[in-house]
Subunit: 369 residues, 2 copies
């Protein structure tokens, strides 16, 4: 599975795997794909350095990348405390009431909330970059618009390619104008932040909008057949996130959550603002239902919502409160029915891809292929 982009990055397969788990990212790179470590959960720069050290030791010299969440617009001199102060009291009450209804205990004494998505704060993302640029990362991806111009220059000075996610051709064009190198076309069916346009329509639209810039197809891809579909649509590679969540190398810290993912069908996700304030696809739970209920207070805009629910989400995860327990995941969760190693996922992907190519050649009457 070779494209211009996979050649440029020196990987065997044009399969990009996004994951918050270093063990998964390293295994993806070792398997011949391109592992991209999500940095949003790292608030202390020391933690990121520790995990990048680990990546260096466990990728066997194979290339890998980092995904940050960095807003293109600067908000000067605004601290986390300033933002916290903007959260209405009624919303805080709603969080506590919803937790109380399900008997969610507080965090154990002395244990900090492990799940604060403060990586979206520009200063946090910048401190992550200061760390990351000390490592030989080959790709810097931004999940939230184009990165600021100085970050793009800094990456390019170090020979690091820059990718940005886009949910529409318009966003993709804006990324291209900002000087990024790769657009990840993230379809409606994807896990995490998504727009309204499904991959089948979005991928070729983005390819047309930014070509010859390489495009990765993201959203709805978890099998080799779906990879073939994404590549047929003009992508130079595929970007998979959800499928790694149930690999044996993933560390969800919750067997209950793994169980929910393995049991969920493709109809069991929802595009909800409950997690960050922007529509993000995730498991539908009583927690997302509470936020999406018109009789409730509704969600706050990004970044307020993320700050508002950070501790609550940590408590739900820590105590594995099943009805509320969720995670960002795409519609392919319906096919994630058994735990596999990253290498097994890769073998299934490449075998399925070859099957799909055989099939399409038969249909096209190219039996020699």
């Amino acid at each position: 599975m070779e494209t211009e982009l996979s050649k440029k990055l020196g990987v065997e397969h044009a399969i990009f795997g996004f994951t918050p788990f270093p063990a998964v990212a390293a295994a993806i790179s070792r398997a011949g794909g391109f592992g991209v470590l999500g940095a949003v959960r790292y608030t202390a720069p020391g933690d990121l350095a520790r995990d990048l050290d680990w990546m260096q030791e466990h990728t066997g010299g194979k290339p890998y990348g980092l995904d940050v969440v960095m807003p293109a617009k600067k908000v000067e001199g605004v601290s986390e405390a300033d933002v916290e102060a903007m959260i209405p009291e009624g919303h805080r009450r709603f969080v506590e009431e919803t937790l109380a209804k399900h008997g969610v205990p507080a965090m154990p004494e002395g244990e900090a909330s492990g799940w604060r998505i403060t990586g979206w704060m520009e200063q946090v993302a910048r401190s992550q970059l200061d760390v990351a640029f000390d490592y030989p990362i080959k790709l810097l991806a931004n999940a939230l618009g184009s990165p600021p111009a100085d970050v793009i220059s800094r990456a390019h000075d170090r020979g690091v390619l820059v990718a940005a996610l886009a949910g529409s051709a318009k966003h993709a064009r804006r990324h291209a104008e900002a000087g990024i190198d790769i657009v990840v076309a993230q379809g409606y069916e994807a896990g995490g932040h998504t727009g309204e346009i499904a991959s089948m329509v979005l991928t070729p639209e983005v390819v047309d909008a930014v070509g010859p810039l390489p495009v990765l197809a993201a959203g709805g891809i978890g099998s080799g057949e779906q990879m073939a579909a994404g590549l047929a649509l003009g992508a130079q590679g595929v970007w998979l996130g959800s499928v790694w969540l149930t690999t044996t190398e993933a560390d969800l810290h919750s067997r209950a959550l793994t169980g929910k993912l393995l049991a969920a069908g493709s109809g069991d996700t929802v595009r909800s603002r409950a997690l960050t304030g922007k529509p993000a696809r995730q498991l539908r739970t009583e927690w997302t239902d509470a936020w999406d209920d018109p009789s409730g207070p509704g969600t706050l805009p990004m970044p307020l919502q993320g700050l508002l629910v950070a501790d609550a989400v940590s408590r739900i995860q820590k105590h594995e409160i099943e009805p509320l327990l969720g995670t960002p995941v795409g519609q392919i969760v319906g096919r994630m029915n058994a735990e596999r190693s990253v290498q097994q996922v890769f073998d299934d992907l490449t075998r399925g891809f070859e099957r799909a190519v055989d099939r399409i050649n038969r249909i096209a009457g190219r039996s020699q292929a």
Copy 2:
């Protein structure tokens, strides 16, 4: 482009074209695809017979089919008048107020509403079938669940294959159990009634659920690359509806509507209950906005909503009231930017398919293909 199903039906390309226009359906069959005429608009059996006579003369002996909207559940002894009586007065007022706000005139004296989707009433669909079975149709498709058992038997007795649309694997399984022959997997991005699951995820899920029964991929398909993607996902053919709306053979009766379709982007559709009471993707207009506005009365369930708005939609179309003027159409409307003949669409589809196959073979390292 040959699959088991296309061979069985005796068509050159596994391209199924759904359209309410006989001239388009006939041109699709003549071009080597399989034209499927939508019957929902035919209320007088004589009109359907007239158009099927025309089809017979203009398909050059090529096979074609018919699409009806027939509920699986019978509602005995309920007339259109009984259903009309169930519509609340407040909703009727809302229709008139919304029309008045945009200065929509009444229908001209003596001109009947041309747009009454009463085809969903079982008695109407059955009278359509009485007509249709006198013609050598090769396929009967049902847009609303599985057809009743006696209709399936009647079709099979005449050697007519039966297809049904499904938006989930669960619905597809129900169709298979009912004894239908083909499942049309209709993705979220499709025009008309759709579920929440996008084609990239839905198609392989339905293939797995009902195989070896043939599946057609529907939703998001308007180019050869998208056809290749649908076939890579395991479909035995593709089902296209939207792309024909802007062909030169289509008769939308409104240049303003054609203009809106040509100008619309992929983000200009909405899944709204405004037209029928069930979520159906269509152009987003001030009409759909009014129905989807939480401050309005909201839509009624099927079939009430369709009856409620039938005359209003006719008036909007007749007088071409641009802000309100819409039609069911999928997200591929963003690529429908020029009027083409059906034959040109076919040429573009087959050329694009060959391009996609070349591309996928290059990526797979099968350069001889």
